[in-house]
């Protein structure tokens, strides 16, 4: 009986077959995009020089005398907002995931989960709006700043954008820990907190790192919220209270106004390439960790 059922299931659907043919091995379209992006960036590297592009911190494409295209300060801006965001989102998200899966009664959990998932459905421009009218004035009055549009503001908003990802992945890996581990721990006389920190946490450690990395992947590429929240000062940032400009924001602001086929135009493609490599690296690492976890689980 089970044998006939299995042969039935193995028939591939026509749609699935076609989809696999068109999309190819793995993200064929992604490779095409990256290839085209790389070709365009090449012209920028030819004009500017790869080392100068990556390390110089003066981005001034419309200078009167001599334009300079260095993304040093933009990279620092992206790094600052992303790291700050994940420093907020990882503890909050993992803490909330532990609360939801281990402590909260089912009714509370069913009420709280949709609220967090609702956060993923809020358009990023609305979060940017909130950063200007709500978080900005709050930061300005709390820390005595002239205005609240700075890296910290971007970090807070990005953290809340990354939270739905972090919470749902972290909750999944927490629930994937075998019940037998916890039962054994309780049988030895450990209480809830000891079981959580000494048994559940080590068992799903790599999954939690993967959750945080996926959150980073979400935060690196975010454009509209940081564009509105961070103030976009084109200068090397001196800390979380200074206004920063990210790679994504630079592309978004300048792409619409740049003359086609100039060095500036190609330099923006090069920015996109750097961003692409960054997000790819983060996602590959997260995927690796998740796969290793899945293999170990089997």
């Amino acid at each position: 009986m089970t044998w006939t059922k299995e042969t039935d299931e193995k028939k591939p659907l026509l749609l699935e077959f076609l989809f696999r043919k068109i999309v190819g091995k793995r993200c064929f379209g992604g490779y095409c995009l990256a290839g085209g992006d790389f070709l365009s960036s090449w012209k920028a590297f030819d004009d500017i020089g790869l080392a100068a592009f990556l390390s110089s911190d003066i981005w001034n494409p419309s200078a009167f005398e001599e334009s300079s295209y260095g993304i040093g300060s933009l990279q620092v801006g992206t790094g600052l907002t992303t790291l700050g965001a994940i420093a907020i989102a990882a503890p909050l998200g993992i803490g909330m995931a532990f609360f939801l899966s281990e402590i909260a009664p089912i009714a509370l959990r069913n009420a709280m989960k949709p609220l967090v998932e609702l956060l993923a459905a809020v358009p990023s421009v609305v979060l940017g709006f909130v950063s200007i009218v709500l978080v900005g004035p709050f930061l300005a009055s709390a820390f005595g700043l002239p205005n609240g549009l700075n890296a910290l503001n971007g970090c807070i908003l990005l953290a809340f954008m990354a939270l739905p990802t972090v919470v749902s992945v972290a909750e999944d890996v927490t629930q994937a820990v075998p019940q037998a581990y916890k039962e054994a721990s309780y049988a030895l006389g450990a209480n809830r907190w000891e079981t959580l920190t000494r048994v559940t946490l080590p068992a799903c450690y790599s999954g939690l790192i993967s959750a945080a990395m996926l959150g980073v992947g979400r935060a690196v590429g975010e454009t509209m919220t940081v564009l509105m929240a961070t103030g976009n000062a084109n200068a090397f940032p001196s800390g979380f209270f200074s206004s920063v400009r990210t790679l994504t924001a630079t592309i978004a602001i300048e792409m619409g106004e740049v003359p086609t086929a100039t060095t500036h135009y190609y330099a923006l493609f090069a920015c996109a390439l750097v961003l692409f490599i960054l997000t790819l690296a983060v996602n590959v690492v997260a995927e690796r960790i998740a796969t290793r976890l899945r293999k170990r689980g089997q």
Binding site: P91, L92, G93, I94, G95, M96, F98, F99, L100, E102, I103, A104, M112, L115, V116, L118, L119, V122, V126, L127, F129, V130, V133, L134, F160, L163, V167, N191, R192, W193, E194, L196, T197
Partner: protein, 52 residues
């Protein structure tokens, strides 16, 4: 033990409070000015009157 669990509850509380504040603030300031005219009419008087 209770301090740890309280911190987890705190994490969840902060997130829920932020989402609630966000939705509440947008609703509080947005709903009073939302009208049928705003949604259906074209802008008038140099975009100072009319709708979207």
């Amino acid at each position: 033990m209770w301090a740890g669990i309280a911190s987890l509850i705190g994490c969840a509380g902060i997130v829920v409070a932020f989402v609630a504040l966000l939705l509440f603030d947008i609703g509080r300031q947005g709903i009073p000015v939302l009208s049928w005219e705003f949604l259906t009419h074209f802008p008038r008087e140099g975009m100072t009157e009319g709708g979207i």
